[in-house]
């Protein structure tokens, strides 16, 4: 080797060696196996907005105070759409996953069935009296074949937010939407929304009353309201073409026509384009009159639009006199396969998803706790009281082991119907063709009892 390179190049060689050393150092630092760090817990969160990060940091802090010498590392991880866990799957396959992963609870069964998550049942069995503290539906939603795979964290419920100023401006009486009057009907709400729409000379919306398929007004909300079951235990088949779902998607089709899907889409792209700061949100800036949203929106409203005049009422229902309706979801914490420190992970989860952690999470992010005793704490629940009260009317999605794919497919079907590239029936038949095969491998399959009825 010596005569390869003459002396003048030695410095370059040194440089290269240095470079290689630096690179090698940083290449290995990301490794997951850390047997020498038994007191370190890595936690991946796909929710990393500033408000939630505040909550994580406080939960970390209180955990470390209660357990001197322990170190929790919070790492934001991307999630491409609802329930997506690409980053986790990839990392676990590469044996570089975290100790704790924040999972969208309705996908826990799917990822458990895939073999991505550790079975938490042994831990649960060693912790007597744990299960009794949690809302039953949330516990069941995080279970697969009667074993717990994720510790429930928060839950939520949905309602209709309306801007009193915009209603008044459009000549409507906000008092119509008063909670005292019970849930409004869908038709009335749509009628009001149309009256609040404004367009420019080109015909593009500059202000809208409501987008009845946007945000939390997506298929899940209307389908559950229509009583969708998604799955038939007897035949072990997915039922995307059941009447409730058909009705939901037919409604989407007619709304898309009524509002003009393209125009609404342009409105969205114009007034809430990618990369616009949160305080420019359309509801905050009075460009959107009403929206279906969850209790967590309260925290954002406090943060980004503290002076906005708004009201909250029940979700609209099909016909006058129908009982109030809402549905609940939430997140949970799971231990991925090949986690370096599962015991530490469980210790952290007991704190974060237990009383101390849920107290912080409820307060900071305005979500509802799944740790049932906390629901009784009126001071903690604060302005979420209405949402807590809604829980008695709430239902949830069945925890199917294909939920991520099913939800992905139903969302795509929603877009197809809105754009008009498929009829509701065609779109839903496509959903069946895409996902039912994956469901079949788990047959026969039975759902836990309490997620089927009202919570």
């Amino acid at each position: 080797m010596r005569n390869l390179l003459n002396d003048s190049r030695l410095s370059r060689r040194d440089f290269a060696a240095l470079l290689a050393a630096v690179a090698a150092g940083s290449m290995t630092s990301g490794c997951a196996s850390r047997p020498d760090e038994p007191n370190v817990v890595t936690f991946w969160t796909s929710i990393a907005d500033p408000i939630t990060m505040k909550a994580w940091n406080r939960i970390e802090q209180t955990f470390e105070e209660a357990n001197p010498g322990w170190d929790v590392r919070i790492i934001p991880k991307p999630s491409v759409g609802t329930g997506d866990a690409t980053s986790l799957i990839t990392a676990v396959r590469g044996r570089t996953g975290p100790d704790v992963y924040l999972i969208d609870r309705f996908t826990a069964a799917q990822y458990a069935g895939m073999g991505l998550l550790e079975d938490l049942q042994p831990f649960v069995d060693d912790t007597p009296g744990l299960k009794e503290n949690y809302l039953e539906f949330a516990w069941n939603e995080a279970s697969f074949l009667d074993h717990l795979y994720a510790m429930p964290l928060d839950t939520d419920s949905r309602a209709l937010y309306y801007s009193t100023d915009m209603l008044t401006e459009a000549g409507l009486d906000p008092a119509v939407l008063d909670r005292e009057n019970g849930p409004p009907t869908i038709d009335d709400v749509i009628e009001m929304a149309l009256q609040m729409n404004k367009t420019d000379e080109q015909g593009n919306y500059t202000q809208m009353g409501m987008i009845p398929w946007d945000g939390q007004a997506f298929w899940a909300t209307w389908a559950l309201m229509n009583g969708a079951k998604f799955f038939d235990e007897k035949t072990c088949e997915l039922t995307p073409t059941e009447p409730a779902l058909l009705r939901t998607y037919e409604q989407f089709a007619s709304w898309a026509e009524q509002f003009g899907y393209k125009k609404v889409d342009t409105f969205n792209a114009t007034y809430r384009p990618p990369g616009s700061p949160p305080e420019q949100g359309v509801f905050y800036t009075k460009k959107m009159g009403m929206q279906v949203d969850g209790n967590w929106a309260l925290a954002s409203l406090r943060e980004y639009a503290p002076d906005l005049n708004y009201g909250i009422t029940y979700l609209p229902v099909q016909k006058a006199g129908d009982p109030p309706f809402t549905w609940s979801g939430g997140f949970a914490m799971a231990i991925p396969k090949f986690a370096a420190n599962p015991e530490g992970a469980w210790k952290f989860m007991l704190h974060a998803c237990g009383e101390p952690g849920q107290r912080i999470y409820t307060e900071v992010t305005s979500h509802l706790p799944t740790y049932a005793p906390l629901l009784e704490d009126r001071e903690l629940i604060g302005d979420q009281a209405f949402f807590a009260e809604l829980l008695q009317y709430s239902t949830s999605r069945p925890p199917l082991p294909v939920n991520f794919q099913l939800s992905d497919a139903l969302s795509q079907a929603q877009t197809s119907v809105l754009i008009g590239s498929a009829t509701p029936r065609q779109a839903l038949e496509n959903v069946y063709n895409q996902v039912n095969g994956a469901m079949k491998q788990f047959c026969p399959f039975s759902l836990p009892e309490s997620t089927q009825r009202k919570i």
Binding site: L5, S26, S79
Partner: protein, 294 residues
């Protein structure tokens, strides 16, 4: 047989054209070129212009051609809002290591194909050519598993190691160059006791410097621009290069990456490429045309 299109003129940048009349206006060609140049550069202009605007200005009904206030502070903010410096250093290191690997490995292998005569050599070389045309997508899944077994996921090895194993195209390109070295010259040196290794580094490599530059530049651009590799392999933010770092931050913390900051970051991604282009323009042009097989 494939040969290489050679363009003997080196830096054409300022060379006056001799052959045809230069005073004829050639209006059609000129107009086309001017119009297309504008079209091709305008996205880059818009990137820079947007990078200097405020979020409030971006929310206006009609966008402006020039920023109202030139917010150079966006660039500072971009550095603070996300770990731009770290992404940048990672990108540079990955690129440099890839270039080293690619140049060293390609020239060694090309030497084996061009300057040593061994039985079956030309038949094996057909495989080299074949690998150039094999669709690369089939390797996606198996390669991931391979690197997972080797414990290399979430490190830079999957991005760099393949370069140390010589790509078909670069071997092909360098071989063409090395074949031009007179055989007698090598044989004479061998008689004098020179080893192949010595010949490679003291004779062959120096003679193929222009081709090595092309290999280096193409590897650098490919490595700097690679998106899917880091997307699949590098999940640790401390190790991520610019490509995936910026995209994932957009997904995780969209409120941090407002449009003006994203454009400021993009501008800073593009600048090194532009600088590299002007520094090595000659090799870029040559590299592009050298690839054209006829």
């Amino acid at each position: 047989m494939a040969t290489v299109t050679e363009r003997p003129k080196a830096p054409e940048a300022t060379r006056p054209v001799v052959k045809r009349s230069t005073f004829h206006p050639r209006i059609g060609a000129r107009l086309t070129l001017i119009a297309m140049s504008v079209v091709f550069l305008v996205p880059l202009y818009w990137m820079v212009a947007t990078s200097l605007k405020s979020p409030a200005e971006l929310a206006q009904a009609v966008p402006s051609w020039l920023p109202q206030d030139w917010l150079w502070s966006n660039y500072v903010e971009a550095f603070q809002a996300f770990p731009f410096g770290r992404y940048f250093v990672n990108s540079v290191l990955i690129t440099v290591l890839s270039v080293i690997g690619s140049v060293v490995a390609s020239v060694i292998v090309a030497y084996g194909f061009a300057c040593i005569e061994w039985r079956g050599r030309d038949k094996v070389f057909y495989i080299v050519i074949a690998t150039m045309f094999l669709p690369g997508t089939i390797t996606l899944i198996p390669t991931f598993d391979l690197f997972a077994w080797l414990g290399m996921v979430n490190t830079w090895f999957p991005l760099i190691l393949p370069h140390f194993l010589a790509g078909g195209f670069f071997v092909f390109l360098l071989r063409q160059f090395l074949l031009q070295i007179p055989k007698d010259l090598l044989d004479a040196a061998r008689v004098d006791g020179a080893s192949e290794w010595w010949l490679l580094w003291r004779v062959a490599a120096p003679m193929s410097k222009p081709a090595l530059a092309v290999v280096a530049i193409f590897t650098a651009v490919g490595s700097w621009n690679d998106f899917m590799g880091p997307l699949i392999y590098v999940s640790d933010v401390n190790l991520q290069p610019l490509a995936i770092g910026l995209q994932q931050l957009r997904q995780v913390q969209p409120d941090k990456i407002t449009t003006n900051l994203l454009m400021a970051a993009s501008t800073m991604v593009v600048i090194p490429v532009v600088v590299m282009f002007f520094a090595f323009q000659r090799y870029f042009i040559r590299g592009i045309t050298i690839g054209a097989i006829r």
